[in-house]
Assembly symmetry: C2
Homo-oligomer: 254 residues x 2
DNA sequence: TCCCGATTCTCATCCAATGGGAGTCGTGTC
DNA sequence: GACACGACTCCCATTGGATGAGAATCGGGA
């Protein structure tokens, strides 16, 4: 490929490139030079600089004092202002705060997104226990309590996809057997909640309940993360109260 | 313009177009058909469909059951995971919850963004008063208490820009005179907080304090919105406690 | 049944995007 | 103070992917 070419000989569309550029940013790498971005996104230096400059112009990226690049707030604004799911987050916040203040452990809200549980919010008091979850982070459906709820009440087609795919173990207590998972899902539907002990981290137990919108579909999971051997009853009571509060805010008349 | 052309004869780059497409979404219009998007973004129908399909493929937009288009969660994820400012939001949440639970009025966190105050978070108990602020919403610097704080501690160049531009009135109590604003800013710096009575909505009063990061720069404003004639002392005490808590989380040793 | 709008597909056209290269700037090293 | 290295900017010949008119298809409502 030593020839002079134009219009992305690499065969990727402009959209692809923009996305690759944005994806070079991670939770641990929030500022980069334009050249770094280019290297990581697999772009020639001059192209990288041009594209980054364009994105800065558009407000999707920002240049700080030292001329380095950060993700622009414009991106977050666009996404947050106009997103259906994030309006749900807003509706759920008061209930989440209540649960958090009573249980005093991590309180989370997750939705189904591309066959994973995506966490929209996490409230954590001081002194709350261990928790790998992060806002805008993801966890696999078969391992997290939130994921189990979203999976148990999800489309049959989703369940098939997950049950026929490999079930990677995060700990030695993660369910990795399809038929065991199938039984677990039946249990979740029967009880109306999911308890996941040690399946994400050995030291903690997740407890989650489904949240329905006005159409009656399960659209989210409300959960708390307790120390591994804590009793779940008190948490369940608060989760159900919180769940009902959110459902009312969403217009569900159960 | 009846001739056959290629590569956007309209003279706009691909980035521009993508941004225009994303900007057709608003808080009140979160789902649209591809054709609607095209009309609003000023794109020919076939181009609109192609671009929308590309963005759906990339995950920046999503198609719902009825084939209509929504903003994709991917966009929010990218922005939230990798943004400096949103990590600050996360660091501020516990303090904000505390302030909210004590004052029981809207508690907000704002940053400076493109010469406006951009609200990163708003906690609102049940029964809190009126409030025009929205998460991911903006307010002018000269009118809101958060804006006054950000402006008072901002770069001189920012202050010049604002002070020499027109100062639109949101209510009859908004400061619209440059020299009055200059005096107000001096007062804010002297007192270490801003009180804005009726300048956004006549029925409410904003109270805001600055928040500094580890470099000592003011990077955010923590504020509450009280009923117009409420006493501000109790709120100020909580705001200062909250501010200090956030600054410690950010590594500021004041 | 017809109609109208949304959507998909095709394809000739051609210009905006491309990326090598050369040069500048700033910083850190010996 | 010279040198090395990397980030960045500018330039420009090249061209293939993006473009949008148009035709066809789909789908819902009257």
């Amino acid at each position: 490929m030593l020839d002079l070419v134009a219009n992305s000989p690499s065969g990727d569309s402009v959209t692809d490139r923009l996305l690759r550029v944005l994806e070079t940013f991670t939770p641990t790498r929030t500022v980069q030079t334009a050249a770094e971005i280019g290297r990581r996104a697999g772009l020639p230096p001059s192209s990288a600089h041009r594209i980054v400059a364009e994105l800065v112009e558009a407000g999707l990226l920002e240049r700080d004092d030292e001329r380095r690049i950060r993700i622009g707030m414009r991106l977050w604004e666009l996404a947050t202002r106009s997103s259906h799911a994030l309006r749900m987050r807003q509706a759920a916040m008061p209930a989440m705060e209540r649960v958090q203040s009573r249980i005093r452990e991590h309180t989370q809200l997750a939705i189904l997104e591309q066959d994973e549980a995506l966490f929209l919010e996490r409230l954590s008091g001081p002194g709350a226990g261990s928790n790998v979850t992060r806002v805008a982070g993801r966890l696999p459906l078969h391992a997290s309590s939130s994921g189990l709820v979203l999976l148990a009440y999800g489309e049959p087609e989703l369940q098939n996809r997950i049950l026929t795919a490999p079930l990677p173990a995060l700990t030695r207590e993660t369910i990795t057997d399809a038929s065991a998972l199938r039984r677990k899902l039946a249990e979740v539907r029967l009880l109306g909640h999911a308890v996941a002990r040690g399946s994400i981290e050995l030291v903690s137990t997740g407890v989650a309940v489904p949240v329905r919108d006005e159409t009656g579909r399960v659209v989210a999971a409300l959960s708390v993360v307790l120390p591994r051997d804590a009793a779940v009853e008190a948490a369940l009571i608060e989760l159900h109260a919180g769940k009902r509060e959110i459902e009312q805010a969403l217009g569900y008349r159960g």
